[in-house]
Symmetry: D2
Subunit: 379 residues, 4 copies
Amino acid sequence: MNDAHINDRIPIAILGATGAVGQRLVSLLFGHPWFEPVALCASGRSAGKPYGQATHWVLAEPMPDKAAAMMVRSSAPVPEARLVFSALDAEVAQDVEEAWAASGHLVVSNARSHRMRDDVPLVVPELNADHLLLVERQPYPNGGAIVTNPNCSTIGLALALKPLDRAFGLESVHVVTLQAASGAGYPGVPFLDLLDNAVPYIPGEEEKLESEPLKILGTMLSDGSAVDKAKFGISATCHRVAVSDGHLEAVSVTLKRPADHATIMRAWLDFRADTDDLDLPSAPEHPILYGDAPDRPQPRLDRMAGGGMSVTVGRLRPCPVMGWKFELLSHNTIRGAAGGTVLLAELCVARGLVHQVASRLNHDDLLMRGLSLAIMPQS
Amino acid sequence: MNDAHINDRIPIAILGATGAVGQRLVSLLFGHPWFEPVALCASGRSAGKPYGQATHWVLAEPMPDKAAAMMVRSSAPVPEARLVFSALDAEVAQDVEEAWAASGHLVVSNARSHRMRDDVPLVVPELNADHLLLVERQPYPNGGAIVTNPNCSTIGLALALKPLDRAFGLESVHVVTLQAASGAGYPGVPFLDLLDNAVPYIPGEEEKLESEPLKILGTMLSDGSAVDKAKFGISATCHRVAVSDGHLEAVSVTLKRPADHATIMRAWLDFRADTDDLDLPSAPEHPILYGDAPDRPQPRLDRMAGGGMSVTVGRLRPCPVMGWKFELLSHNTIRGAAGGTVLLAELCVARGLVHQVASRLNHDDLLMRGLSLAIMPQS
Amino acid sequence: MNDAHINDRIPIAILGATGAVGQRLVSLLFGHPWFEPVALCASGRSAGKPYGQATHWVLAEPMPDKAAAMMVRSSAPVPEARLVFSALDAEVAQDVEEAWAASGHLVVSNARSHRMRDDVPLVVPELNADHLLLVERQPYPNGGAIVTNPNCSTIGLALALKPLDRAFGLESVHVVTLQAASGAGYPGVPFLDLLDNAVPYIPGEEEKLESEPLKILGTMLSDGSAVDKAKFGISATCHRVAVSDGHLEAVSVTLKRPADHATIMRAWLDFRADTDDLDLPSAPEHPILYGDAPDRPQPRLDRMAGGGMSVTVGRLRPCPVMGWKFELLSHNTIRGAAGGTVLLAELCVARGLVHQVASRLNHDDLLMRGLSLAIMPQS
Amino acid sequence: MNDAHINDRIPIAILGATGAVGQRLVSLLFGHPWFEPVALCASGRSAGKPYGQATHWVLAEPMPDKAAAMMVRSSAPVPEARLVFSALDAEVAQDVEEAWAASGHLVVSNARSHRMRDDVPLVVPELNADHLLLVERQPYPNGGAIVTNPNCSTIGLALALKPLDRAFGLESVHVVTLQAASGAGYPGVPFLDLLDNAVPYIPGEEEKLESEPLKILGTMLSDGSAVDKAKFGISATCHRVAVSDGHLEAVSVTLKRPADHATIMRAWLDFRADTDDLDLPSAPEHPILYGDAPDRPQPRLDRMAGGGMSVTVGRLRPCPVMGWKFELLSHNTIRGAAGGTVLLAELCVARGLVHQVASRLNHDDLLMRGLSLAIMPQS
């Protein structure tokens, strides 16, 4: 796609645009080569105000001027948006996302509400792009669909595990996390709760981390009807630590087939992502990086690897109990939330999901059709 | 022992008195009912200066006036001290501690140098007081001996594991730590390395945590000749986090015999410490505390439990991979270093080790003998 | 007063008991030798629940068992309480405190609502106990009255300035603060706002710091009708920093009369508090401490001086612009809020204010009368 | 200068290259369009090792590969370097910098050693580029010279004050700083000293802040013989706070001539930098930025303004004591150290100082001469 043709950009909306993840989406999508934000939606309290006034901006990079001037809308579906990014809280996401899908929109969601539904793809673009086929099973008219991005602590883990599962088969996984405060949104964790402290509990987090990877690493049935979940056991223990961004995870694995240091390293290095030939704007060159230093990865030093989109792995060594262990780090609000959602939306475009949506929605949208055909000669 | 008879106190020396752990020892031992500091020893640079001048005091409680005025000595053995506390770095502890033992002193050490020697007891007073018998195998004349306190991250783990091992038998243990900065001493970790960060590596720490518990939970052979180490496997992963004091540990265990939530809780609650009837001044009323709150233990809220001498356990729940998992917290510079060393010294006095030393050293030390007889009518 | 006669304790209520300052009041008042909490009051949402359930306890010391079991009440006046401590937010304090005063209660308030009223004493007990006379001008029946504790950043400043004003006369004062997060209550400041950061603004704080000291250091007119405010100029700049407790203030002063290092030091050391002979349980032995170390006072090391009730002063040196400058530190939630309020209530008891209230309220309360007569033979 | 002609780059050396400021210089100078690092120098311990091995790299951005492979040299002058950047500690800078100047090199120094010498320019490029003339008074042969960059806390202050001095005349300045930990270098401040703390003292810092601005804002005598220092009084109080990068300063000023909010704002906005037409690669578009938000500037949000080279000013308001007050922020290791030094070196090149050096050193260096002539047709 030629960036110069900005009129060709796909009109998009952002749900939950004033929140912490919503702000990162705003930051990534104003200026995105493929997407054109046409609606910033938020709760009733903010609706009707300019985004610049309605939002307590918490990012270090300045708010895009164009965003600041846009009037915040309610969360009701906006016809002119083709695709909608959802950064809603789970409580409201359930119904609002369904309403958009029912109106024929493609919903790319960061909320947990629909992730484990049998007919909803839960996708890390590099790992299981084929799961997108599930949308065919969804009940929404006019090409409406919901696709979901995993939980922030799941994505890095899934990326590091997939090559091991492919090469050796996973028997069981034990993961202990040190998660950043931004994972709780804004205002999120009070300063007094984390200063000189660590909290060994994040509500609902261990459940997500013990279930989502099994769906992501599951196998699409050949008839496209369902994902057969992976069968290995996962134990997750989650901590909140005094870090702004970057989830660190201590992982131990038991593998089914013999492995040694060299073959495990090779599994990671040789990993070929599903996205490798798609030229997606947000795809990192190397989704998995391995660092040799004995004291890495560290949140402050490694979270921005690959522009915040790569997972960094390190300290691979034998585990006296499980077999092998290592440490991983991924940026929880970029790869783990907004960035991951944008990459997923790009994948959907590349796979023709937006094309499908568009073609069913208004059949004369030639420009869009041309676009997706150009990207995917195979479709 | 009657606190009023301060002349009856046992004269003690402190090695490494100007360092971080040494300062905590100074704070605990000036005013201790049983001990009377007569020598504060440090490296050549400090020797000859008043302690108040030689020391960059880092504790919030003020330096004892009497300590401030004492002249710092070199680390050469001081005859008038009966017992010596060592807070030396491992590099120098090896030789200096041997020199004191060879001069007939009882050395109670916080350094790692002699911990794993076959003839050196590695003791958590509540757990394996009987291991003190090993000193009989030591080669030092005149009752000289070395006894050691475990590594700061080991003590809490050993305390939490012992009741489980007794009740159910340990098959394997997986522990991931979030350790406080004070564990690295002073100046220790640079501010720039831990602000907004966590470091997945502490040199040598995982090795200690994978070996020391096996010795502590080992069994004294009936002839007193050696400790038969415990056989379960341990996997340890250690992180440094932005906390001042208090090591948090996420523990998963596989047990040999059936257990459920209630029986595990009962094992901890019913735990009877070896120190229970000895009335040691530094022994906490409850060495193991269990907290019910879903988000505890936390360093800032729980590290001072039992005056910093109790380990707090919480979040007991099934582990999908190992069987059971829980979280524990213990204060690393109190229970895990200075306080643990003082408690160990108290145990040695109660068990007559200082008596033995004294009696061999100067046979007419009636006062000391009277003391230990009074405490231990059984001996 | 003999602590043994706990039946003689004055029944008290706490308003805003579930908040951060309210919790500190609970912690200080359960077990207080003079006071007996009979009512814990909070907003409608909490009323009717046991305090232990209604409260997200944030202090490191455990919640008193007796408090945990008490049923939280609404904020309506409770007849059996003689004296009420208010830790209400300013928005609600205005009316609720008036309602209690109108019902004949002595209200000792930490809220700002009534502080600057001409007929309300704003008191630091050591400095201006005589201002309590103002309550005679208040309109409330049956001895009802409101007395107020200054803002957390004001108290330390007023304590350090008063001896200078007495000895040399203050011409002008310039203060820049580094204030702790707990000053904003709980949940208060989000972690993401203060990590690796400092914020040069606290809403309303500079206004308080530029006005309250003038009232506290003002002079009671001889007819007791009003306080003539002090006339010196104050400039305040307030920052929020990444500290839990302890407000640090950089102060420059211009004095009216000649001063040198020695005479300023003497002014502080010779300071005689209004509370010196009253034996108030919460009064620190030395309200003003001077530290010699070049890098003190520091929040972590000095905030607990005098049990958190002393202000620590240091770094006195010439100011090339204003004349003299120094640094001060005081604990913002102890001296600056809950502890200061308790000390003020103790002063009120010692000065017979509770006696007066009691005597007017129910004239046969002989016990109370006996109590205050015993304390204050002069009244 | 055409960036494409990399062979035209000026060969430079870096002194103290392994330290914290040295690393930032390495990061900025490998890839700089005008300079080509040919020597990385450090103390004897590091000399002879590859830079990648000798350096404990503390920046988040990766070490340049080319730097990693370079062999570290001792600090003896290197003939092939034309210009040398000094990030040496003051203790060694004094002599080492003189040795390089005596060998005919232009030394651009971040150390304080020579800053206050009468014949050494102390320069903020935007403010007093004309002070560079002082090098003519220096005794070094072959065009050798020393120019210096101010202290990290001075630069932001000087930038904010200069427009005020020009427009209204400064009578006196009162500044209280909240300085970042990186100002102390690496390892610098221990974590335990700054966690939950602030330290009201930085050795030697207040002296620098009370003297350097007077030289920078001084006037070059018309005969170029000396700088007549500014005469206003400055009072500085310096704190270390728990921030990684970014010095925040609370400034009060007394002005000689009448000012109001609008005229002060205009003074800043209309400020024309000495560097405005020179097109220096490191010069920020706006050296002074004013932020309107009531709670800005903040270190985490504003330190990277202008790529870390702009000072951000905010909260301008009347000061009841001094007249006006405001808050400023500048990045202490970019603008305040490495970045400032690089900008100063660029100014020296633009002003022909390197040309002069070069021409005297080896008269046939036509390339260099061509270069500087191209830049400065006026010379």
